[in-house]
Symmetry: C2
Subunit: 242 residues, 2 copies
DNA sequence: CGCAGACTTGAAGATTATCAACCACCGTGG
DNA sequence: CCACGGTGGTTGATAATCTTCAAGTCTGCG
């Protein structure tokens, strides 16, 4: 009947969320209209400036979340992967494009009745994810504002590796990363050319390599040391009080 | 009896939130322990790395939200003012220090029962504020990554002016801003020295001035034009579905 | 083969940081 | 009253970093 809802319930219980809903929580969530949608690679899923789209839980694939700025520049906000929530604003402040084929769960409240009125459990889960997203955005800000390009770039790939691990996708020392150096540059606040040189440095120093759409972390110990990477901000613990 | 709760309810109905709770919403919120606290200027209200502090609604004063990075650098995450929510994470990812005397409402769930279980209304309000905070953080990221220092600086002061207006604190063409050029630099991703030169440029071009802890927007039209500032991301509209 | 998109390299120029002073203001204590 | 120290702000010279411009290379694919 509501196949999407049942799949969504299973999704919540798998990594990275691993929620354990009670009977009431499950019943509450079943009262919310949830749909599962498939977007082929290259689809624009959400567009900046548009109002009130549903909240998106990515269930598989990679998506690029970005802002097209009025000065002609572009900012890549995030490389979104399985388990990530892309929550909507009254007016979307970013666009989302599927980079690979992508499957998402879409949730939208009806008749001006907020989701939190349907399910306090889902509200709680969403607040945890939104808090984590905020932490990630803040860490990106720190990265761009206060780390040098080499460390900055290494940091981003380390973060991505940890998030993949959390989502249960591999060990993280080697992973697919289907984005261009231009995408990377727009995430790091550099030019594509400079990003290219930074990647070469990282490769020549034997630290890591990004070629042919795959990342290899060759010397994780030194990468951690030079970036002083601490994954605490990615934590998704149960003891969040929201 | 619960003076703080009643004051908090009034706070919700004033700018910038202007919420209109129903009778049930009010009863729900009365079931939550809320305290009002006063922090003199210079107090450290929250500290990075510490677990599980309450959520903070700033009711008056200015606070500085920042990260002390392990590479010795500092990032100023936000200049928080009246009406802002500083939501907590499982592990705090930033510190907060009162810059002026500050009054806040502090809300903390008890016994592992999430706030959303007490009040779907408060959960909804918090999700709206968290979404706005996320939009602000993303815009700051765009600002630092993809705008030049002059526009970047002007943008920050324009944003602050709009947020003050939303909170009902003055017209915004002239306002107190009790932070140093060093604080500003750590928010903009520049050195203090370069920030000083940028401020001089803005002043010499007759665009705006920041001296003696007060900001004057002298030529708002040109500031808006050069930054292409669009306050849409600060929107706090009722039609949010979370 | 030839094209398009992504990547790579070198040289030159612009921007931003660093270093080293110095000024201005303010509250304190002699 | 005034010297003093501390904080915050200002300036110039120099060095490092990053961008821009211009020109390719590589690869997959029709």
């Amino acid at each position: 009947m509501w196949a999407a809802t049942e799949k969504f319930l299973r999704f919540l219980q798998q990594p990275p969320l691993e929620l354990i809903p009670s009977g009431k929580d499950i019943a509450d969530i079943r009262s919310i209209p949830i749909s599962e949608r498939f977007y082929p690679a290259g689809t624009t899923i959400a567009e900046e400036g548009r109002p009130g789209r549903p909240h998106l839980f990515i269930s598989s694939g990679w998506a690029l979340s970005y802002k097209s700025m009025s000065n002609g520049q572009r900012l890549v906000v995030d490389f979104a992967q399985r388990g990530d929530l892309i929550s909507s604003s009254p007016i979307a402040d970013r666009s989302v494009r599927s980079t690979t084929d992508v499957t998402v769960f879409e949730i939208e409240a009806q008749n001006h009745r907020p989701l939190s009125a349907y399910s306090s459990y889902l509200a709680h889960a969403m607040m945890r994810l939104m808090t984590r997203n905020h932490s990630i955005a803040t860490e990106h800000l720190a990265n761009v504002a206060r780390r040098r390009p080499l460390e900055r770039t290494a940091f981003l790939f380390l973060e991505t590796s940890y998030r993949l691990q959390q989502a249960g996708d591999g060990t993280g020392d080697r992973y697919d990363f289907p984005f261009t150096q231009g995408d990377l540059a727009d995430a790091l606040g550099l030019t594509a050319i400079h990003t290219n040189r930074v990647l070469r440095d990282l490769r020549e120093q034997g630290l890591m390599s990004f070629r042919n759409w795959t990342v290899e972390l060759l010397d994780r110990r030194n990468l951690l040391e030079m970036t002083l990477f601490d994954p605490g901000y990615l934590d998704l613990r149960e003891d969040f009080v929201g």
